[in-house]
């Protein structure tokens, strides 16, 4: 099996889908001649040319809307819109929330919107407040959108292929901190369906739920906890909307304890929703209230020590696990 970086796995998914379907194209800032701000689209412009790998002006709302309108036309066009980061995509939220997410419903199903908005999300390192935001909860709040958050090269490729082939607007959130992460990716084609979570580490004593960058934090905590005889399960929902509720509930029924780790803010987050569902669906199985670790409820500071203090860490996860284990 080939070992690929996440950026290469994403690149492969785009490349293969563009080869398979001439209606697939990618547009965004610096995706073509510059090969992508994070080199995700490396080589695609050379291979497919101006028509299908399209550099845009810096106009997030404008090109997001062009993608949506192109997808809605119903003539076999499936745009991939790269957002250089999700911080910038905030400018396009009107297009995504008011238009992409509602076109199918408002038209009573006349319109389909097969489009993927993808790019890095969440705090990276010392980028300051405007460039360090995890926005998946805002997107997952909106009916009509699908939200996917891959954590490995294998997942990223299989999930993106599912996203591109789906007839709904998909919010695909990556992490610039993870583009260089490596992992095995099979040569043969595979698809990871939307809404399918994955157990990243099996365990019996506690379920740690995490996605994207936080999966690594959770796995590191699990390793440390193992040394103390605590066997943690790490569950990656992979898709946040629709959520793999069944996998989550099954895991919690087994472990009876749960900690959720996310680098978004705590108020009304995806983790809040997951905790609520666990509390209402699996209440009788719980031996402790669900704990939640988030980024601090502040705009992100620049200074390294302050940023570190604001972010979730394996230490914070370990403390939360011990709390739900009453240890």
């Amino acid at each position: 099996m080939a070992v690929l970086q996440i950026r290469e796995a994403i690149n492969q998914a785009i490349d293969e889908e563009m080869e398979r379907d001439s209606g697939v194209f990618i547009m965004g800032e610096e995706v073509a001649q510059y090969n992508g701000a994070y080199k995700v689209t490396q080589g695609l412009w050379k291979k497919y040319g101006d028509k299908r790998v399209i550099d845009t002006p810096i106009t997030e709302a404008g090109f997001a809307g062009i993608g949506i309108g192109a997808a809605m036309t119903g003539i076999g066009v499936r745009p991939i819109v790269e957002m250089m980061t999700w911080n910038f995509a905030i400018l396009a939220f009107d297009q995504i929330i008011n238009h992409a997410a509602k076109a199918s419903y408002m038209s009573a199903g006349q319109f389909k919107v097969p489009i993927v908005f993808r790019g890095p999300n969440g705090p990276a390192h010392m980028l300051g407040a405007q460039h360090s935001q995890a926005l998946e909860s805002m997107m997952a709040h909106v009916p009509g959108l699908i939200v996917m958050t891959p954590s490995t090269p294998f997942d990223a490729k299989g999930m993106l292929k599912a996203a591109i082939r789906d007839d709904n607007p998909v919010i695909f959130m990556e992490s610039e901190m993870m583009y260089g992460n490596k992992g095995e990716v099979p040569e043969e084609e595979y698809i990871i369906p939307i809404g399918k979570g994955d157990i990243k580490r099996e365990g019996t004593d506690v379920t740690i739920i995490a996605w994207t960058k936080m999966v690594a934090v959770a796995l590191k905590a699990a390793e440390e906890l193992q040394k103390e005889g605590i066997n943690a399960e790490v569950l990656d929902p992979r898709t946040l909307r629709p959520l793999d509720e069944e996998l989550i509930i099954e895991s919690v029924k087994k472990t009876n304890r749960c900690v959720i780790v996310e680098d978004s803010w705590p108020f009304a987050s995806v983790g809040t929703e997951i905790a609520h569902r666990i509390h209402t669906i699996a209440f009788d199985y719980l031996d402790a209230p669900v704990e939640k670790i988030n980024s601090a409820d502040i705009p992100m500071p620049y200074a390294e020590n302050l940023e570190h203090a604001a972010l979730p860490s394996s230490e914070k996860v370990i403390a939360a696990v011990k709390k739900v284990l009453y240890r």
Binding site: K51, A61, F63, G74, I75, H99, Y105, M106, S107, Q110
Partner: protein, 340 residues
């Protein structure tokens, strides 16, 4: 294109019909007149039904602006696309969507053009290329540009037209889209329906500069103002713009100067403009003006016009009865089509 001529001036100058240069059959001319009249009567009836509580929410009437919508849509082909904002009833009717389906949508019924899910501001008919019906000022021009992008991408020679109010040209995204439409040579026509007011705010209080259409100059786009109260003038300028889009794949920005005779929406008491101003525009009523011309050039007789009135009255009555008798959407569709 920049000079605005009224049909009267045109008539004085020319010893021939205002449409003599346009290759319009009498049948087509009558269809154009009929569409405008149908919109007028449909909207008048919608206002009444709103007053009776049969129609809820916001209801933005097109009365006064009929020539703009009909004149812009009449020269289109069936495989062309139309986007518009929330004042969308008139354009839907001009595109041939049934008055029954439109009225039923206003009534929130399952038989409506959007099955009662969309409402007044969200009329859609993908099969007719009628892409709606959007409620966020300035939000839909990007989608329209996307439609033009898609047809060009797929090598089709369809064009997209995008109606928008003049107030939307003050939104940032409007400029993003004009820039990209020109940069990428998209086959699109932006029809800015300048009715003088963004809700209750006169354009002079909201826009710097006097010549709205010159906003497109910054993008070196073909542009001009047209008398939106004159359906033939609209048809003529649109035909040129459509040709430019279809043959050369180039965008056009048209400022259609028009006027709405009613308030912004049904809840608008209209205290921001004078009765004199409204009366002045009513003298230029697009339907009466065109009707007189049709009579003058013997396309329609007075009795034929009366017959059309009767026909349309019956059609609107039938639409209301249909809407009233139609069922509300069943509760079990509540979660349908959130996802494809």
């Amino acid at each position: 294109m920049e000079k605005i001529k009224t049909m009267k001036e045109e008539k004085k100058k020319n010893a021939q019909a205002p449409w003599a240069d346009l290759n319009l059959s009498n049948e087509k001319l009558i269809k154009i007149y009929r569409d405008m009249l149908l919109i007028r009567r449909f909207e008048e009836r919608a206002a009444q039904e709103y007053g009776k509580g049969k129609i809820g929410g916001f209801c933005h009437l097109y009365i006064g602006q009929e020539a703009t919508g009909v004149g812009a849509i009449a020269p289109l082909r069936e495989d062309d696309f139309i986007y518009t904002a929330y004042r969308d009833h008139g354009q839907a009717i001009a595109r041939g969507m049934s008055s029954k389906g439109c009225m039923a949508e206003l009534f929130g019924k399952a038989t409506g053009v959007s099955k009662g899910i969309g409402g007044s501001m969200h009329f859609y008919d993908l099969s007719k290329g009628f892409m709606g019906g959007w409620g966020i000022v300035g939000g839909h021009p990007p989608l329209a540009a996307g439609s033009a992008f898609a047809t060009k991408y797929q090598g089709r020679d369809s064009v997209t037209i995008c109606f928008m109010g003049e107030a939307s040209t003050n939104q940032g995204v409007f400029h993003e889209i004009l820039n990209m439409a020109m940069l990428w040579k998209l086959p699109i026509i932006f029809i800015c329906e300048n009715n003088g007011y963004g809700m209750g705010t006169a354009i002079s209080r909201a826009m710097a500069g006097e010549h709205l259409f010159e906003k497109a100059a910054g993008y070196e786009m073909a542009r001009g103002a047209v008398n939106g109260m004159d359906v033939i003038e609209m048809y003529r300028e649109m035909s040129v713009a459509i040709e430019r889009a279809r043959k050369e794949s180039l965008p056009t920005f048209l400022e259609a100067r028009t006027y709405r005779f009613r308030g912004h929406s049904m809840s608008d008491p209209g205290q921001y403009r004078t009765k004199d101003e409204i009366d002045e525009y009513k003298k230029r009523d697009p339907i009466e003006t065109f009707g007189s011309a049709l009579k003058q050039w013997n396309v329609l007789s007075e009795s034929a016009i009366e017959k059309l009135e009767e026909e349309i009255k019956a059609e609107v009555q039938e639409a209301v009865e249909f809407a009233d008798a139609s069922p509300q959407p069943p509760i079990d569709v509540l979660y349908d089509h959130v996802y494809a």
